[in-house]
C-alpha cells in the first residue's frame, strides 16, 4: 500500500528524479550557449526540493518503510538535506566551468549521484545499501572523467572507477558473509541476530574489515585514500568539491547507521579499528598535505585528514559522538565547498592551480581573499567559523569516551593543519604577483559563483556562531540511533 508516509519518506528522491527528467527533456531544445541554464534549474530545483522536503517530508518517529528497505528518520533526513545543499552548490559552481558547465549531462549525472547518496543515508537493508552506493558512485566515475580532452581527467575517471569497483566488490563480499551468518539483510534485525550468534571475535573482526574497505574508500580514509589526490586533481574542480564533501559524508552516513545499529555487539572490535584508522588517517593526511604545491592536492589531503577528525566521533560510539559526526560533516561540507568554490572561480579566470599562483589574490579580488580566509581558517579549526565548534564537539565526544589519546593525536594534527592552511593564506594575503600590478589582473566573479560563495561563507560563519539549531538537529539525528 502506498501511504502518505511512504511518499513522504522518498519525497526528496522523487523531486530529484523529476528534476533530472526535466533537464533531460529541456536540454536538447536549448541552444549551445544557453545550456548552462541547466545549472540554474538544478540549483534552484534542489533548493526548492530542500524547502518542500522540510515542509512536507519531515520524519516523525523512526519507522521502516517499503518492506524494511528504507528507514524514515531524522538521521537520514538531515543527511539528505546536506547532500542536496551540496548538490545545489556544486551545480552553481559547475555552470561556468568551460567544458562541463555547458553540457546538460553533467547536471543529470550529478542528480543521479545525489539520488544514490540520499538512498545511502536511509538504506536499512544491505541489498538496498549496495544498490544505493553503486547508484551514487557510477555517475561520479563518469563525472570525474568528464573532460575528454584532458588526460588528467580521463586518468582520474579511470582510476576512480578501478579503485571504486574493487572496494565495492570487497564490501559486497562482506555483506554476503554477513547474510550467510545472520540469514537476514535487514540492518535493524542484524543486531540481535549477530549479538546472539556467538560469532568468534576473529570472524567479527574480518567482517568489519571487509565492510570497512568499501566504506573507507567512500570516506577516503587511510589506507583507502590513494585515489583521492589524483582524482581530485584531475576531475573538474566542482566535481572534486562534490567528491570531497557529499560523497564523503554519504560514506559517513552509512558508517554511522550500519555500525551503530547493526554491530553494537562487535563494538569493542570496530571502535578499536576505527580509532587506529582515525589516528593514521589524520596523521598521514596532514603530513602529506604539508608538502603539496598544488591547491587541489592540498585540499585532497586535507579532506583525508578531516575524515580522520570526524571518525573520532564514530569511535566515541555514543549519542554525542554521533551528533558530533553529523555536526562535523555539516560544517565541513560548507567549508570545503567554499574552498573548492574559490579554487574553481580562480582557476576559471587564470587557469592556474598551484599554491604560488594565489599570490596577491587578496588584492586582485578582496572578497575572494576573505572567502579563502574563511574557508581555510574554518578548515584549520579557528572560530568564529564552523570548523572550530565542530572540532571541539568531536574532541569532547572523544574525551567523554575515554579516547583521550586519540584526541591528543587529533590536536597534534590540527597544529600541522594550522601550519599549511596559514601557508596558503600567506600567499593570498602577503605575497604579491610578479610586477606588483594586481590591479591589472582582476579575478571577477560571475553571478553563480558570487551566489554560491556568499551563501557558503555565511553558512560557515552561521554554523560556527549560532550553532544551537544545527547541533539540536544533529542531536535529533543521533538520537535515532540509540
Amino acid at each position: 500500500m502506498f501511504t502518505s508516509q511512504i511518499f513522504a519518506s522518498i519525497l526528496p528522491e522523487i523531486l530529484i528524479l523529476v528534476l533530472g527528467i526535466l533537464i533531460l527533456v529541456f536540454e536538447p531544445f536549448w541552444k549551445e550557449d544557453q545550456r548552462r541554464n541547466a545549472g540554474w534549474l538544478t540549483a534552484g530545483g534542489l533548493f526548492a526540493a530542500i524547502i518542500i522536503s522540510l515542509l512536507f517530508g519531515q520524519p516523525g518517529e523512526p519507522t521502516s518503510v517499503l518492506g524494511g528497505m528504507i528507514r524514515f528518520d531524522w538521521l537520514g533526513f538531515f543527511f539528505k538535506l546536506l547532500f542536496m545543499f551540496a548538490g545545489a552548490v556544486t551545480a552553481l559552481l559547475l555552470m561556468d566551468h568551460k567544458t562541463a558547465g555547458h553540457r546538460g549531462e553533467a547536471y543529470v549525472l550529478l542528480l543521479a549521484s545525489l539520488l544514490g547518496m540520499n538512498l545511502m543515508a536511509v538504506s536499512s537493508d544491505l541489498v538496498m545499501l549496495y544498490l544505493a552506493i553503486e547508484t551514487a558512485s557510477i555517475p561520479l566515475y563518469i563525472l570525474a572523467g568528464f573532460l575528454l580532452a584532458d588526460e588528467r581527467s580521463t586518468e582520474a575517471g579511470f582510476k576512480y572507477l578501478l579503485f571504486g569497483t574493487l572496494a565495492s566488490t570487497i564490501m559486497l563480499y562482506g555483506f554476503s558473509l554477513i547474510f550467510g551468518f545472520a540469514g537476514t539483510t535487514n540492518i535493524y534485525q542484524l543486531s540481535e541476530i549477530l549479538a546472539a550468534g556467538n560469532l568468534s571475535v576473529l570472524l567479527a573482526f574480518g567482517l568489519v574489515a571487509l565492510v570497512t574497505v568499501g566504506l573507507g574508500f567512500k570516506m577516503a580514509i587511510v589506507p583507502f585514500h590513494f585515489w583521492a589526490p589524483d582524482v581530485y586533481q584531475g576531475s573538474p574542480t566542482p566535481v572534486a568539491g562534490f567528491l570531497s564533501t557529499a560523497s564523503k559524508a554519504a560514506g559517513f552516513a552509512v558508517v554511522v547507521r550500519f555500525f551503530f545499529v547493526a554491530l553494537p555487539a562487535f563494538a569493542p572490535s570496530w571502535t578499536l579499528i576505527f580509532a587506529a584508522l582515525a589516528a593514521i588517517t589524520m596523521t598521514v593526511g596532514n603530513l602529506l598535505a604539508l608538502t603539496q604545491t598544488n591547491i587541489k592536492r592540498l585540499l585532497a589531503y586535507s579532506s583525508i585528514a578531516h575524515a580522520g577528525y570526524a571518525l573520532i566521533g564514530v569511535v566515541a560510539f555514543s549519542q554525542l559522538g554521533a551528533a558530533s559526526v553529523v555536526f562535523y560533516l555539516a560544517a565541513y561540507i560548507a567549508t570545503n565547498l567554499l574552498a573548492f568554490g574559490v579554487v574553481m572561480a580562480f582557476s576559471r579566470i587564470t587557469g592556474l592551480e598551484e599554491i604560488t599562483d594565489y599570490a596577491g589574490l587578496s588584492r586582485r579580488n578582496p572578497l575572494m581573499g576573505l572567502m579563502m580566509l574563511a574557508a581555510f581558517l574554518s578548515l584549520a579549526g579557528m572560530p568564529p567559523f564552523g570548523g572550530f565548534v565542530a572540532k571541539v564537539f568531536v574532541f569532547a565526544a572523544g574525551v567523554q569516551a575515554n579516547y583521550t589519546w586519540l584526541v591528543v593525536v587529533g590536536i597534534i594534527n590540527s597544529i600541522f593543519g594550522v601550519y599549511y592552511y596559514l601557508n596558503v593564506l600567506k600567499y593570498v594575503y602577503l605575497y604579491r604577483m610578479e610586477g606588483e600590478n594586481e590591479e591589472q589582473h582582476p579575478v571577477p566573479l560571475t553571478r553563480p559563483y558570487a551566489i554560491a560563495l556568499v551563501v557558503l561563507a555565511i553558512g560557515v560563519i552561521l554554523v560556527g556562531t549560532v550553532f544551537a539549531p544545527w547541533f539540536s538537529w544533529s542531536d535529533a539525528a543521533a538520537l535515532n540511533l540509540f
Binding site: 578582496p366 579557528m382 569532547a396 574525551v399 590536536i411 590540527s414 594575503y429 547541533f471
Partner: protein
Amino acid sequence: MNFPILSIITFLPFVAAVIMLLMPADRKTEVRGVALATAAIDLLLAGWMYAQYLLRDLTGYQFIETYNWLPALGISLKFGVDGMSAPLVLLTGIVMFTGVLISWGDDDKHVMAGIQDRPREFFAFLFLLAGGVFGVFVSLDLFMLFFFYEIAVFPMYLLIAIWGWVVTREYAAMKLTLYLFIGSVVSLVGALAMYWTQYQNTGVLSFDMIQMESAGFSAAFQYAWFLPVFFGFAVLGGIWPFHNWSPDGHVAAPTAVSMFHAGVLMKLGAFAALRVGVMLLPEGAKQWSWLIMAFAGVAVVYGAYIAFVQTDMKYMIGFSSVSHMGLVMLGISTLNHNGLVGAGVQMFSHGIMTALFFAITGMIYDRAHTRMIPELGGISKVIPFATIGFIIGGLVSMGMPGFSGFVAEFPIFMGVWEEQWLVAVIASISIIITAAYIMINIRKVFFSPMPEKLEGHVGDITILDKVAISTLCFLMIVIGVFPAVMVPMVEKGVENIIRLLGGA
C-alpha cells in the same frame, strides 16, 4: 534586564570589522573614522563600566548577562566582570583607542605605525582581535572563553605577516601562531576533561565557570590536569621557557599590533591561566606553585638580562615584557593576597607601559628608519614629547614610587617574600638590571648628540600621537598617585580567588 554593556563592548568591534570590510577599499579616511569612532565608544563604555564598579563599590561578578547558547551541552553566552577582569577590559579599551590613533598615518613619513597599505583590512583584523580579547576577559563560560581566545589568536598571524617588519615577519608570525595555538589546544583538552569530570561528579553538564568552581574535582585530577591547563594558557602570558615567540612577534609586528600584543594579549594568557588554571583547579595550583614560581623567577631575571644586552629597541622592550610578565606570574604563583593583588595591578600597569614604549619606539623608527640603539641619538631635541613619555614609561618600568609600576611590583615582592624570601631576593636583581638598561637607553637614544646621518631627517610627531602618549602617561601617574582607583577593586577579585584556594 539591565543595559547589556559587556556584550556591547565585546561585539561592537566585530560589527565594526564587518562594516569596514564592506566599505570600498579606497575610502581610507572613512575606514579610519569608523575605526576611531568604534574605539572611542568602546573605551567610553569600558570606562563607564569600570567607574560603575569602582564608585558603587561593587563586589563579585557584576554586569552579568546570560544567554543560553546551546543548552544541550550546557554552553551559554555568559558575561560578567569582577575586580580582576574589569581593569583588563578598561586596558583593552585604552590600548585599542591609542592603537588606532597612532596607526592613523596619513602622512608619508610613517612607515611602520601609519598603515598606508590596505587600512581597511588592517583595522578590520585589528578589531576582530580586540573583540576576541574583550570576549575572553568578560566570559564566564569556559567554552566561550576558548571561542574568543582563538579569535584573538588568528588575526595576529595576518596582522604581523602582512603589515609587519619585512625582515622577520613571516617567520615570527608563524612561530607566534603555532606557539599560541599549541598552548590553547593543550588547555582545551584539559578543559574538556574538567567538563566531563564535573558531569561525573555532579551530573551537571555545563561550561559555566562559576559552577565549575564547585565541581569537586579530586586532588589527583587537579594535580594531573593543572599543568596542561595552566601552562597551555601561560604560553600566551610569555612564561619562561615558552616565551620565545613573544620578542620575535613584538619585533616583527607593526606598532599598533605590538601594543596590542604586549599590552593586552599577554595579559590574556596570564588572566586565563589564573581564571581557569588557578581558580578552577586550586589544589593543583597549590601543588605546582613552586614550579610556576621557579619558571617565573627565571623569566624575571633572565628576561631583564637579555633585554639589557639588546641593541634593537624593540627586542629590548620585548624582553623587558617577558621580565615584567614574569613578575605577574610570580605574583600568581604566591597564591597569597599581596602577590595576587600585585599581579592584578601589574597586568594593567605593564599593559599601559609597554603599549607606550612600543608606540614611542614605532614613532622613532618611522622617522629615523632605524631602531638600533647605537645608531640613534638626540631624539629629545626633535621629539621632546616622546622623550617625556619614554622617561615616564621608564620610571614605571623601574618601579618608582609615584607611578603605577610601584603600586604593582611592591605587593608582588611582599607576597613572594611571604612564601619564599630567596626568590624575592633573586627576582629583585631584575629591578637593578631594568633600571640600568632603561637609563642607558634614555641617555643614548634621547640625550646623546644626534648622529650626522639623522640630522635634519627626523621630524616631530603628530597631534594624534601626542594624544595617545598623554593618555597612557596620565593613567600611569594617576594609578601611581591614587592607588585607590584600582587597588581596592583588584583586592575584591583577589578575595574570591583566596576563598577558592581555601582561605589561605
